[in-house]
């Protein structure tokens, strides 16, 4: 099967272009306490790429120049970026929704308790990786013991109000498949996780999102080394759904890398595909016009398969 995303778009007479940019995603670096096997940015312990305080200050100025509805902070493990607390405080007034990604494990550590208190005070939404209610699947993707720690942290978050019905403290879960297969349909997965987690552990959450793993970085190497790359890419390409294009996140999101450069999404960061084809720093950007073409690669099939990645 031919894998050529640009050609697929052309065959469907589609153009992937920027719409109104409403979300700022900030990747504060690749340093992480975990080294998950599906990680497209190959985050892990010892990675030196971490956003410095000067770049964080530039990001705040950028967010003031281009008002965003949502600001989403990801990594790596954002908890490990020095100055993350200041960044959260300064970004809080600049968007309706402020989201911090977490792998749950780090927040269990007492050293990060002040950060959790700050998130609660500022009503920062937490988006946590939680691939499966099954310990084996979770640990095989994220590392030994992660499932147990995740369950413990989710209980603690519920105890302080995160994820409870009617609470302003959003706790969203993200479930990527634990292997080279497609994700469960989101509404079915959310219903089942909600029922299972309430029944088995009395854990509650706001929403669950299911996303296909993107064949980049560490996950791509795993696909190659296990002989799964060909069939996985074919599955993604065969699942191309033209109706996903309008709602793709890259149309309304701008992604900033740890060193302050702009990309159309976090996957394009990992693939080294800068916004508009050239590396532009947040300090020099003057406009994010609608209609600007979005940089694409063959990894984009992961966002257009089935129900899509929105």
């Amino acid at each position: 099967m031919e894998i050529n995303f640009a050609k697929t778009l052309a065959e469907h007479h589609l153009h992937l272009q920027r719409g109104k940019t409403t979300t700022l995603q900030i990747n504060v670096g690749r340093l992480c306490n975990l080294a998950c096997r599906h990680c497209h940015v190959e985050a892990g312990p010892g990675r030196p790429e971490v956003m410095d305080r000067a770049t964080m200050a530039d990001v705040v100025l950028f967010a003031k120049r281009f008002p965003f509805q949502t600001i989403d902070i990801t990594g790596g493990a954002p908890e490990l970026a020095p100055g993350i607390d200041t960044l959260l405080r300064q970004l809080r007034p600049l968007a309706d929704r402020l989201i911090l990604r977490t792998n749950l494990v780090l927040l269990l550590d007492a050293r990060h308790a002040p950060l959790l208190e700050l998130c609660t005070e500022l009503q920062v939404g937490l988006t946590a990786s939680f691939p499966s209610t099954n310990a084996g699947q979770t640990d095989s993707q994220r590392g030994k013991g992660v499932w147990q720690d995740s369950i413990a942290m989710l209980k603690r978050l519920n105890a302080i109000g995160y994820g409870l019905p009617g609470s302003p403290l959003e706790l969203n879960l993200v479930a990527n498949p634990a292997g080279a297969f497609m994700p469960v349909a989101q509404c079915q997965a959310e219903k089942r996780f909600r029922m299972d987690m309430a029944r088995r552990w009395d854990i509650h959450f706001t929403h669950l999102f299911t996303f296909a793993n993107v064949p980049l970085g560490r996950f791509r190497r795993w696909l190659e080394s296990t002989g799964n790359l060909g069939q996985y890419r074919d599955r993604l390409a065969a699942g191309f759904n033209p109706s996903t294009i309008d709602g793709l996140m890259c149309r309304s999101l701008i992604s900033v890398s740890w060193d302050g450069y702009l990309y159309d999404c976090d996957f394009n960061q990992a693939a080294g595909l800068p916004c508009a084809g050239e590396k532009v720093h947040i300090t020099t950007i003057t406009d994010l016009p609608e209609g600007m073409p979005i940089a694409t690669g063959d990894h984009c099939y992961a966002c257009t398969a089935g129900a899509g990645f929105t």
Binding site: N134, G179, A185
Partner: protein
């Protein structure tokens, strides 16, 4: 290595309709209806299919329904339990025929 079973052959399943298209169409339409969400969920049906695949020992079906179960949200523990159900029924079917053996033996024994 040459083998009777080639994983890529599953993708050629539709070719079975080349010589008898009407029957193939009826079969594939029926198949799609069977696996659609109904009183049983699509996830439950995939688990049943996986168990049956092991009972009839069809390698194509095992590959296809392993992926299908995972993609419908089942985990390996649930899938293993489903296979034990197939195993228990298959093994039980052998064992319960022991009653036939006992009956026959009694008939011809002093």
């Amino acid at each position: 290595m040459e083998t009777y079973y080639n994983p890529t052959d599953l993708g050629k399943f539709a070719e079975i309709g080349n010589e008898a298209p009407e029957m193939a169409k009826k079969f594939f339409d029926y198949y799609a209806t069977v696996f659609a969400e109904g009183e049983l969920t699509a996830r439950e049906k995939s688990l049943i299919a996986l168990a049956v695949a092991h009972a009839v020992q069809c390698p194509y079906c095992i590959d296809a329904y392993t992926a299908s179960c995972l993609e419908k949200g089942s985990n390996q523990a649930e899938m293993t339990e489903a296979i034990h159900v197939a195993c228990a029924i298959r093994g039980g079917a052998s064992l319960v025929h022991g009653v036939q053996m006992i009956n026959s033996s009694r008939k011809i024994s002093l």
